[in-house]
């Protein structure tokens, strides 16, 4: 492990700057903006999972008093090429509806009640088709087609269309020889259901577009720059004609990286000549926004009697929903990443079904595939009578291991995570009577991408950081801390805010565990720009050369040996004299961050099952993760606990339940059961810090990895508690009872 660095700000736990506003209700979320003359938009949604639209007639709705605008697919620009073809059809159906809840038309009226009444006046003539609901059956060459124009994306175009949109495959070594070396083989099929991110705030926006076609959109989003780009493309507008402002956001987890309402609200606003507010109900969120892929994964793993993995073979089918784009590639790239395996094959399919188009959900694709592999490892550990952590350590990837997706890992913290778990008091204590202890590993690549930041020095020397990433997980605090550390000033002297698309440089979405890494790097560079300018200002003030000034502890000081009778100049001194030395001081940086560091985790938990009711109790849960460096440890722990809670929910209760017609039967939190506080113990966390050498403070990114391991950790715990291998999630009471009755 790298040497610890003695930081002054990094690693502290200041109170979050947005906390008071959020707990008092002052914070303004997507639905909180009210504008003069604002009206209300509503969406008419398909009652069928698969149907041809023969006609949509909005004329009766438009004729109603108080109704200002009505649109259907034909009112949007026709888009038949480029990267938003599917998105255009998803925000408003054109010729076919492809899932129950698919948007068919929309209205804007004086009140929400009038808008709802207007929806009832819209006439739609459907030709109902058979829905495609089972991912494996959908792959059959004779299956009903979700999209008659979908051909599997292969180097040579297939002769016939198919529901398989994409195929991914990774191969290494010789799989047959690998299995020949094995003393035994574990082989099973595992299922993970479609599940929703469960963010608390439904999608909402207010669009205000004037008669010239220019305007602004206020919305809850993980990336207002990318929302602007998508909306402009979908409406055929110039990017510069739209300003997007990110509201506070009540959770996203990947689900708010996609536009649904914003282009519709903007078009309605332009037609109505008034601001239009749109917000989804919880039911609409479930029916019409992107959940994670449901998957079927078949795993075959060969082991030697000392625990060495000799070969691994995986086949996985990912539900894409109505349009291509399941996270099958990250799923297959992640599955073996924690381990050194010489012989493997992994193949995955991106399959269209008549369900909502999937969206990213924390570490997209990895929880599903890694659930299968980590369960197979647990079964092997039981067979070998080997500690499951020892089995993982025996095969663990380390610095120099060739990742399954190609490159050799630089310094990584997987072994350090295993060691920390092995020594944790929750692991060294006996398993509670009647419970099972489950262990699993997690992994995510982490990413960089583009970020910008500006750092303005106020007249009194206080610091304002402006960045373009919506603050979902505490980025304003972490940006301010990194700025304070770089500048050598106190955290309380720094404020951070999220700029709109007209007031700061481009930033990719807040997602992929990239913001603290990439935008943090931009903030550090912008601060270094400020320091360089401050040194120049001090040099001018003192009448010395620029290179005779150093920056220490937030002050300009003369370099050793400089013969000048001067006192150090603080940021406040320099800012106060800025008018004489060159004007206001502003640092800027824009970058495409490279060098994101992979993050590994180990989770373990003790779970107890009531055999009569099938109810599962989580007695304790411990999450160990390599963060590289925790800028604000409380936020890192919060990410780990939040990911664990979501993963436990996915493992134990959460699932989309469709009827035979493709209608979601549980579109609300009463029937789609996410964990509540009383369902969970305190989730214990251990932050391992193996610094990422590519980041100034060693950051790796922490948001994705925490959801990966809980699925298998819970599954393994329940299987051990019951002494029976359960392969299909969720491990809900009815499913457990059914498994026990088999």
């Amino acid at each position: 492990m790298a040497e610890a660095v003695d930081y002054k700000q990094i690693g502290n736990r200041p109170i979050r700057p947005d906390g008071v506003d959020k707990v008092t209700g002052r914070a303004r979320f997507g639905a909180d903006l009210v504008l003069p003359n604002m009206i209300h938009g509503k969406v008419l949604r398909s009652p069928h999972a698969h149907a041809r639209i023969k006609q949509v007639d909005v004329s009766k709705a438009l004729a109603m008093p108080g109704v200002y605008a009505a649109v259907s697919g034909g009112d949007f620009p026709a888009i038949d090429s480029g990267d938003v073809v599917d998105l255009a059809k998803n925000i408003m159906a054109r010729d076919k509806v492809l899932y129950h809840g698919h948007a068919v038309a929309a209205v804007a009226a004086a009140t929400p009640a009038l808008a709802n009444a207007a929806l009832e006046a819209i006439e739609v003539d459907y030709e109902v088709l058979s829905p495609v609901l089972d991912v494996v059956a959908a792959m059959d060459p004779g299956a009903v087609l979700v999209d008659e124009n979908n051909y599997t994306n292969l180097p040579e175009k297939p002769e016939k269309p198919s529901n398989i949109a994409n195929v991914g495959k990774l191969v290494r070594g010789n799989i047959e020889e690998g299995f020949e070396l094995a003393d035994f083989v574990i082989e099973r099929e595992y299922k993970v259901p479609m599940a929703h991110q469960g963010y608390i705030e439904p999608h909402a926006c207010v669009a205000n577009v004037d008669e010239t076609g220019r305007g602004s959109v206020w919305c809850c989003t993980q990336g207002h720059f990318e929302f602007r780009a998508a909306t402009a493309k979908l409406l055929g507008k110039d990017l510069a004609d739209l300003k997007f402002i990110a509201s506070e956001i009540g959770g996203g987890f990947g689900g708010k990286t996609v536009v649904y309402l914003e282009p519709v609200a903007a078009l309605l606003s332009e037609k109505a000549g008034r601001p239009v507010k749109m917000q989804m109900s919880r039911e609409e969120v479930f029916r019409a926004t992107g959940p994670s892929s449901g998957t079927v994964t078949r795993v075959k793993v060969g082991f030697k009697n000392d625990g060495t993995i000799t070969a691994a073979e995986t086949w996985a089918a990912f539900e894409a929903g109505a349009f291509a784009g399941a996270p099958h590639m990250p799923g297959i790239m992640a599955i073996y990443s924690p381990y050194e395996i010489e012989n493997f094959v992994v193949e995955a399919f991106d399959v269209l079904v008549n369900k909502p188009k999937v969206a990213a959900y924390r570490a997209p694709g990895a929880p599903q595939t890694m659930h299968a592999f980590e369960c197979a490892l647990d079964e092997a550990a039981l067979r070998l009578d080997m500690d499951p952590l020892d089995l993982r350590m025996h095969n663990a990837a380390d610095e120099g291991t060739q990742a399954p997706y190609g490159p050799k890992f630089p310094a990584i913290g997987f072994k350090a995570c295993i060691e920390a778990a092995k020594n944790h008091p929750n692991y060294t204590k006996p398993v509670p009577e009647g419970a099972g202890r489950g262990v699993a590993a997690g992994f995510w690549f982490n990413i960089g991408m583009q970020s910008s930041a500006e750092v303005n020095i106020n007249e009194n020397g206080s610091v304002m950081v402006i960045e373009g990433n919506p603050d979902i997980g505490g980025s304003r605090a972490s940006m301010a801390m990194m700025a304070a550390e770089t500048l050598g000033v106190e955290y309380d002297n720094v404020r951070a805010q999220v700029g709109d698309t007209e007031s700061t440089g481009f930033c990719n979405v807040t997602g992929g565990s990239r913001t603290t890494f990439a935008t943090g790097m931009a903030v550090v560079q912008a601060c270094e720009d400020v320091i360089a300018q401050c040194k120049q200002r001090a040099a001018k003030t003192w009448g010395v050369d620029d290179d005779q000034v150093d920056w220490q502890d937030g002050q300009a000081v003369p370099m050793p040996g400089v013969n000048a009778d001067v006192k150090p100049l603080s940021l406040a001194d320099i800012a106060g004299n800025a008018a004489k030395t060159g004007g206001p001081i502003q640092g800027r940086a824009s970058l495409n961050a490279q060098g994101a560091g992979a993050s590994f985790s180990i989770n373990f938990a003790d779970l107890k099952v009531d055999r009569e009711t099938g109810k599962v109790d989580v007695l304790n849960f411990t999450a160990v993760q390599d963060a590289g460096k925790a800028i604000h440890p409380s936020y890192v722990e919060g990410q780990m606990q939040g990911g664990a809670a979501q993963g436990i929910g996915w493992a134990l209760n959460e699932e989309y339940i469709f009827d035979d017609n493709g209608v979601l039967e549980n579109p609300g939190f009463l029937d789609y059961r996410i964990p509540v506080a009383s369902d969970l113990p305190m989730i214990d966390t251990v932050i391992v810090e193996v610094p990422n050498p590519s980041h100034p403070f060693g950051v790796r990114g922490v948001g994705e990895t925490p959801i990966v391991a809980p699925l298998a950790a819970c599954s393994n715990a329940v299987s051990r508690a019951l002494d029976q291998r359960l392969t299909d999630l969720p491990l809900s009471p009815p499913n457990i009872i059914a498994a026990l009755d088999e």
């Binding site: 689900g255 590639m329 790239m333 997706y405 050799k408 995510w444 990413i447 991408m449 990239r514 490279q594």
Partner: protein, 80 residues
Amino acid sequence: MAKIIMPDSFLAVTQGEHEIQVQVENYRELVTELTRKWPDLADLLSNTAVAIDGEIFQDPFLEPIGDQSEVYFMARIEGG
């Protein structure tokens, strides 16, 4: 010469050639070299991330490639 390893998804275009050695100074030169040999690779390369000596670049352009470099192409990663 740098070692360039093709992913499975490229093999249909490269006629099964899994690994080649090339003398280039940066990623742009590598793309020029590969598309000269296999013109159909251009589309695949435009949507691909690359790992050069273990460091992953989502939007590669002028990254240096040395004589002893190992280059892997891989799917772009996004996230939630």
